[in-house]
């Protein structure tokens, strides 16, 4: 709030400033209060939305996490029971395992591809705008249900992926029905949407001063060396941002797993990602207390991973400002 108010006052005509300078000590206060009130009023739809649709449900879900609640009964306080059953539940463990695998494999692959393509597109060449748009497009449509269906058919028996693989003598069959392969089908879907981090990388690459490369080239540094010693450190803040965003995003995977598995999160729980299990427990089995506890565990896990990433940035993220 503070800076915003200053900005408004600075932009006021000088005439008014001088005129109101004298009675400022008396007249300011009610005026500012009124301005604040106006600000809050303008924000009121958002505040109401936040309180009713975000904060309220969050507090309620925190309470439900410690209760036995099936949507129909009055929630019964059970302390940490939901959490202890969770740790003993093999399907919960399975969902953690599947999600971790998805995050650990999918996120780095996606970012590597995004960075690679961004570096290719950073050079000026003909049709650049077209390529950027083309690579970005999957990020816009990738989360849709219809793409999930397309994915399902691409990775079925005797569909294009199966045929290509078989052509090279590697017979796996469709990935969709195969418990060992289906997760990679989801990984492929997220990697395909590398356009969003790519655009951010592109912006980061544009910020690297040309002189650095010129100087390095003069000193005889090859392309790899330039990438390692100039590009990577200079874009490390952008890289950090992308890692953070994509990791958090990956943890929340739901739609693609739900659609590709036709709502079963199978076969054999192979696509039972965390949110999918949460959904099954909450909305199919009506174990809302358990589902709420699961949701809070997810929040804690994501917060923990974020904290670790933030802690690690001292070691590898370079901010130009620090050097000054």
């Amino acid at each position: 709030m503070g800076p915003a108010v200053t900005l408004v006052e600075d932009s006021l005509p000088t005439a008014r400033k001088t005129r109101s300078a004298a009675p400022a000590t008396r007249g300011r206060r009610p005026g500012r209060r009124r301005e604040n009130l106006a600000g809050y009023l303008f924000m009121s739809p958002w505040i109401a939305g936040f309180l009713l649709l975000t904060a309220g449900p969050m507090i309620a879900s925190l309470y439900f996490a410690f209760t036995d609640y099936n949507l129909f009964n009055t929630p019964k306080w059970v302390g940490f029971d939901n959490f202890t059953t969770m740790f003993d539940d093999p399907r919960w463990q399975r969902s953690v395992e599947v999600t971790a695998k998805y995050v650990v494999i999918g996120t780095p692959l996606k970012l590597l591809l995004a960075l690679g393509v961004a570096m290719l597109l950073a050079q000026s060449r003909r049709g650049q705008a077209f390529y950027r748009a083309a690579f970005y497009a999957p990020s816009l449509i990738g989360a849709s249900v219809s793409v999930g269906f397309v994915w399902r058919s691409l990775f079925s028996d005797d569909a294009i992926v199966d045929r290509t693989q078989s052509f090279f003598g590697w017979h796996v069959g469709g990935w969709v029905g195969n418990a060992d392969w289906v997760l990679y089908c989801l990984v492929a879907l997220t990697v395909w949407q590398f356009g969003a981090p790519m655009v951010i990388f592109l912006a980061g690459l544009k910020q690297v001063p040309r002189e650095l490369y010129e100087a390095a080239e003069m000193d005889g540094a090859g392309p790899l060396r330039r990438f390692w010693n100039i590009t990577l450190p200079m874009i490390s803040p952008v890289l950090f941002f992308n890692v953070l965003l994509e990791t958090i995003h990956s943890f929340q995977i739901f739609g693609s797993a739900y659609v590709v598995s036709n709502g079963t999160c199978g076969p054999a729980d192979a696509t039972l990602v965390y949110t999918c299990y949460l959904y099954q427990q909450g909305f199919q089995n009506a174990r809302m207390g358990f589902a709420a506890a699961m949701a809070w565990m997810l929040l804690l896990a994501v917060a923990l991973v974020t904290a670790v990433l933030f802690w690690s940035q001292k070691k590898w993220v370079y901010y130009e400002e620090d050097a000054r």
Binding site: R16, A38, L41, F42, S44, P45, A48, N70, L71, F72, P90, R91, S156, D157, G173, G174, V176, G177, N178, A179, N262, G263, T264, G266, P267, A268, D269, A270, F283, Q284, N285, A286, R287
Partner: protein
């Protein structure tokens, strides 16, 4: 200064007014509006699960109803089976279930326990709904602890649907009173001679295991729990998995890919246990000819079969119990409704509708013949109870057996997991 302040205030007031109005509109929309209009017309909400085909038929029957009862309007909604119950559960929890809806025995106790279902006895006594003229015993399916919670629209029974062409090619002929040994031998012959798996995964079907247990003097459920022990299930699943390995039961990888289509209609299996009225589905999904065969037995006689039923139930919270009862009455008794619906939801339950509909196509004729034969064979027993949680357990049974079939779980672990999940489902 003064003027600019005023302008500001006016703008703010306008903005505030607009947002208040927006919230107001949203709030009204959220309530779904009243269901009664000034002229005495009432609107009732009716939802069901099923495919587009069923929806078209039902819409025709609703048009008939609205013609006869011009003061009652019917608002409809339908989904697939799983989505229907997810939505219903949320609506019911929010105190806003549809006034009248399709129901099945698996859900009766669950929603009775939660106070969602209207006991239709009072409407029967008030003369708005008749329980007369039903085929023998079918109304029993909708009874729980002396309450009439559902009125059957059609009856069905578990059956074995076979791909006639494959069976013929393999030279296998199912017959009344055949045993499980005969059946599994037939599957092997089919696989040896045609390379098609004989069955699409019998060991994951709760309703079939129920029949098997009934043949052995048990049942899937008791009044409040499971009617079998871990040793029983271990044997059932270990045998099932062995048959997947042997190739006589369809590879669950293939079943998962065929889904939501059946592996029988996809040509990846030669037979499948399901409800007899579902035969219609196979004919429209697949290219072969499909027929009904008897359920295998232990002793050459008892199949464990019983008549189940799809029902219409009403919400205990409906504001229009009388109109809802009239609606149900019309839907189950009106002969014209019977001719429109056919055997889509099972063999028509009331005698008026049963008499009115004469099947002309081969599939519906076969369904009628099947239930007539089953009844004549005297194998139909009484339905055993389905406690609250049966729906969750049915899904868990199917899912865990699928894991098992993929070789992802050992039989012992699968059995343990199933018993743990059942325990939780009964308590929920």
């Amino acid at each position: 200064m003064g003027t600019s302040r005023n302008v500001e205030r006016r703008t703010i007031l306008k903005a505030a007014g607009a947002s208040a109005a927006a919230l107001g509109v949203a709030a009204t929309a959220g309530c779904g509006g009243g269901s009664g209009a000034g002229d005495g017309t009432v609107t009732i909400r009716y939802s069901w699960w099923g495919a587009e085909e069923r929806a078209q038929k039902i819409n025709k029957t609703i048009a008939l109803f609205e013609k006869k009862y011009p003061k009652i309007k019917v608002k409809t909604d339908f989904q697939t089976y799983a989505s229907f119950w997810e939505k219903f559960q949320t609506q019911a929890a929010g105190g806003n279930p549809p006034d009248v809806f399709q129901n099945a025995v698996t859900f009766l106790r669950k929603y009775d326990k939660r106070g969602i279902l209207l006991d239709l006895k009072s409407q029967v006594q008030a003369g708005n709904l008749s329980l007369d003229h039903f085929r023998a015993g079918v109304t029993k399916v909708g009874e729980v602890d002396g309450k009439q919670l559902g009125i059957p629209v059609g009856s069905n029974t578990m059956a074995l649907v076979i791909d006639k062409k494959v069976f013929e090619k393999a030279g296998v002929e199912p017959h009344t009173g055949w045993t499980w040994d005969d059946y599994f031998k037939a599957l092997k012959t089919i696989h040896d001679r045609t390379k098609v798996a004989g069955d699409t995964g019998y060991f994951g079907i709760m309703y079939l295991y129920d029949l098997y247990l009934r043949q052995n003097g048990k049942a899937f459920y008791t009044k409040d729990g499971l009617g079998f022990d871990k040793a029983d299930l271990t044997e059932w699943w270990a045998d099932g998995y062995g048959r997947v390995k042997a190739g006589i039961v369809t590879d669950p990888k293939v079943v998962a890919q065929d889904f939501p289509k059946s592996s029988l209609s996809a040509g990846h299996g030669a037979s499948e246990f399901t409800w007899d009225n579902f035969t219609v589905r196979y004919s429209s999904e697949g290219d072969s000819t499909y027929g009904l065969a008897p359920i295998p037995t232990m002793d050459g006689k008892h199949t464990g079969q019983y008549l189940a039923s799809l029902m219409l139930s009403a919400s205990a919270r409906t504001a229009h119990p009388k109109e809802v009862a009239q609606f149900i009455d019309f839907m189950v008794h009106d002969p014209e409704v019977g001719t429109i619906m056919g055997y889509d939801r099972g063999i028509l339950a009331s005698t008026e509708q049963y008499a009115a509909f004469k099947p002309t196509d081969a599939v519906n004729k076969e369904i009628a013949q099947y239930e007539a034969d089953t009844a004549k064979a005297g194998v139909l027993g009484t339905i055993t109870p389905h406690p609250s949680g049966a729906d969750t357990i049915e899904a868990a049974f199917l899912r865990i057996s699928g894991d098992l079939g993929q070789g992802k779980t050992k039989v012992a672990d699968a059995v343990k997991q199933f018993f743990t999940e059942s325990e939780a489902a009964f308590q929920a």
